[in-house]
């Protein structure tokens, strides 16, 4: 089976980009592929714990659920700090990491890469 890397640079609200991320991830997981998600720029908001979007899909909760199935979710540390997101505020199972140490591993592991951004 393959390994897909999804890089998201969109925030969790005001557009459907990260809903696309969850749909893509779901489809890949259902087919037995490994999925790695890396949040960069606004994409780091995906790992914020405690999101409550009310009538919209809860991207954070969905991603957290998928980590239970082995999906890896990591975001850029520098981008987090720039936005005031601190370690410990990420949902369990996700990681505030770095491009050098984490995205590079994802890239070297991946067979396919999808970029979601505006």
């Amino acid at each position: 089976m393959g390994k897909m890397l999804i890089q998201t640079r969109s925030g969790t609200m005001m557009n459907m980009d990260n809903n696309v991320v969850t749909k893509l991830a779901r489809a890949a997981l259902d087919r037995g592929h490994e999925v790695m998600v890396f949040g960069y720029g606004e994409g780091v908001t995906a790992i914020k714990d405690g999101q409550d979007p009310r009538r919209f899909p809860n991207v954070g909760k969905i991603l957290q659920d998928y980590t239970q199935e082995g999906m890896l979710v990591t975001v850029c540390e520098t981008c987090c700090y720039a936005r005031g997101i601190k370690r410990g505020e990420e949902f369990p199972g996700s990681k505030i990491g770095s491009m050098t140490n984490d995205l590079s591993v994802f890239v070297s592991d991946a067979d396919r890469m999808v970029t979601i951004a505006r």
């Binding site: 890397l5 890089q7 640079r9 960069y40 720029g41 770095s98 491009m99 050098t100 140490n101 995205l103 590079s104 591993v105 890239v107 070297s108 592991d109 991946a110 067979d111 396919r112 890469m113 970029t115 951004a117």
Partner: protein, 119 residues
């Protein structure tokens, strides 16, 4: 297992952070030592990131030119579709070390890499 990636930058400098972020991603992948080849390809308005006369201090922003220089300092491969720059800003001086290519060559560069991401 991917050994190569091309980072295509089609956003101009400033106004959005996309181009700067793309160059920083390329740098991170290069210095990691885990990805054999991380190529940066400037296309469309992204070619403006190589323009020598940009003055980011006027808007108190970090320099995209410096970010591009960082890639070259690491012996990174940085290409620019010259016909795109010539269409937008003909005769403009660009950063030394950025390799001008035409679209036919750009397509070959893209095809030679296993992964593609865009900024």
């Amino acid at each position: 297992m991917a050994e190569s990636i091309v980072i295509i930058i089609n956003r101009g400098p400033y106004g959005t952070e996309e181009a700067f972020a793309g160059m920083r991603e390329a740098l991170a992948l290069m210095v990691s030592g885990l990805v054999d080849r991380a190529v940066t390809l400037l296309v469309g308005e992204g070619t403006l990131n190589a323009v020598m006369s940009q003055k980011p201090e006027a808007i108190s922003m970090p320099s995209n030119l410096a970010a591009l220089s960082d890639l070259l300092d690491m012996d990174g491969e940085v290409f620019m579709v010259l016909e795109d720059l010539e269409r937008i800003a003909p005769g403009t001086e660009v950063l030394e070390g950025v390799q001008p290519v035409n679209w036919s060559q750009a397509r070959e560069i893209i095809s030679s890499c296993q992964l593609v991401t865009t900024f």
